[in-house]
């Protein structure tokens, strides 16, 4: 599976071309999801509209009169929005595969099941990133908070990756049940709780300009969460899709 000199920097650790092929399959799955979404824009528009609605509701629900109240509540509001908008995306992404039996189509191919998992999970993370990119400026504008900072973005990435990872696993189960979309929040929220707590506290620390040493344990927790949950999810994904 050589491809000329274009990808020589990948050649380093790989004895055969298998690693490259694996990554390419993941990329192909992500590309397919992006292409499909660009056609209809269903997922992104529903996630986007939902986010804006939530911002408006929070604006009226929270008494944002004092600076301190803003600082303590906004990180929570931000992450709640992300969690729920993300759920919409997760549901849709896996429902698409169920429709017309496309997941079976994927399982028929010799592609490694873990590649399917990573493809869907990173695709879902990507869609969540797009929504977050829109969300951050909106929060800055409506609530006057300094969210456009590198640390905040790093926290967003870390939190989203873990959430999308375990969310993809649980969503692939939920859509295969009678209760479908309704079941995903029930399954996902208890499991995502540590990530949510850590992300909110870390965002709060970064947003209020505290030095990293003050809130770095939350970052560590996020990283630990991501590593453990994604590893476990990949390992058990096989069992979810194999009949």
């Amino acid at each position: 599976m050589t491809n000329g000199t274009r990808n020589t920097y990948f050649v380093l650790r790989v004895p055969s071309g298998t690693s490259m092929t694996y990554l390419r399959k993941i990329a192909a799955i992500i590309a397919k999801d992006i292409a499909a979404e660009l056609r209809t824009r269903e997922m992104l528009s529903s996630m986007g509209v939902f986010s804006i609605l939530v911002i408006i509701v929070f604006n009226f629900a929270l008494e944002l009169t004092e600076r301190q109240i803003v600082e303590t509540t906004i990180p929570g509001a931000l992450w709640v929005t992300i969690i729920f908008a993300g759920m919409l995306g997760l549901n849709r992404s896996l429902s698409v595969e169920l429709d017309k039996g496309c997941l079976d189509g994927l399982l028929l191919t010799p592609v490694d099941r873990s590649a399917i998992f990573f493809g869907k999970a990173f695709g879902n993370a990507l869609f969540m990133f797009v929504v977050e990119v829109i969300l951050l400026p909106l929060f800055v504008v409506f609530f006057n908070v300094p969210l456009i900072q590198p640390w905040v973005m790093a926290i967003l990435v870390l939190g989203t990756v873990g959430y999308a990872g375990v969310g993809t696993l649980l969503s692939s189960m939920a859509v295969n049940t009678r209760a479908r979309e309704v079941l995903l929040p029930i399954l996902l929220f208890p499991v995502a709780m540590p990530m949510l707590i850590a992300a909110v506290k870390a965002t709060s620390g970064a947003m209020t300009g505290l030095p990293v040493s003050e809130w770095q344990q939350w970052l560590s927790l996020l990283i630990v969460f991501d590593v453990i949950l994604i590893t476990v999810s990949v390992m058990v994904f096989d069992y979810v899709v194999e009949e």
Binding site: V166, L169, L170, M173, N176, T177, R178, A179, L183, I186, L187, F189, P190, V191, A192, M193, P194, I197, A198, K201, Q217, W218, L221, V224, F225, I228, L229, V232, S233, V236, Y239, V240, E243
Partner: protein, 234 residues
């Protein structure tokens, strides 16, 4: 249908619980601040402990099911979740009953209680997941997967709330009970408390095992009935 083991276990459980009650109310030392209210602590800890033990049993059963695809592991996982949920509910209730007079609140979001709440939600989610699936194999597989994934996150939840607490000082600093420190009137207080607690934990663990066994038998019987029905029909 003689179920000697079951009956014996039930009798032993009953006896242990009665003895535990005796120990707790008659033998255990009186705590200085909380007086008699403190005695609920023995049941609370024992029941909570069993609630989490049940989760561990579910984890092991889930892993074993995925490796062997044998129905018995699925039955064990399900039964443990149901009984664990029962124990955790009791744990939360006893915790509330204890908290109200001591802390003047029914609930607080500290590390332990939050973890109890989250675990309870996980149990609920597990049962709802099972309820939403008709195909028995898929039901077993999905539950096993969820059992494993959710077990992993519970310690992480505990850790995250624990960090929260070390940053913010305890909200109930005035009560020594909040820091888990209890003082007893008599000299041998702590030792007696330790022994009573251990006994209660053992007693309730035996109760758990008894109930678990009963639940497993029930499910096995249901399986046999279903199989007989199938054979009669087709």
């Amino acid at each position: 249908m003689n179920d000697r083991t079951g009956t014996t276990l039930a009798i032993i459980s009953g006896a242990l619980v009665v003895i535990a009650l005796g120990l707790v109310f008659l033998w255990a030392p009186v705590e200085v601040t909380m007086k008699e209210v403190q005695r609920i602590f023995y049941f609370h800890v024992a029941v909570d402990w069993v609630g989490f033990l049940a989760f561990f049993v579910t984890l092991v059963a889930s892993v074993m099911y995925l490796r062997t695809h044998e129905r018995k592991w699925d039955i064990a996982a399900l039964s443990s979740v149901e009984i664990g949920a029962l124990f955790l509910t009791l744990g939360a209730m006893t915790g509330s009953l204890w908290a109200r007079p001591v802390w003047n609140t029914w609930w607080t979001w500290d590390a332990r209680l939050t973890t109890v709440a989250i675990t309870w939600l996980v149990y609920l989610a597990y049962l709802m997941l099972r309820g939403a699936i008709d195909d028995p194999q898929r039901q077993a597989r999905f539950s096993a997967v969820y059992g494993i994934v959710s077990f992993v996150t519970v310690p992480l939840t505990f850790a995250s709330v624990f960090f929260l607490r070390t940053i913010h000082p305890a909200l109930f600093a005035s009560s020594t009970a909040a820091q888990g420190r209890m003082q007893f009137e008599t000299g041998l207080g702590s030792a007696k408390m330790g022994m009573t607690l251990t006994f209660c934990v053992i007693a309730f663990t035996v109760v758990y095992i008894t109930l678990l066994r009963m639940r497993i038998k029930l499910e096995r019987t249901a399986d046999r009935v279903a199989k007989l029905q199938q054979e009669l029909v087709g």
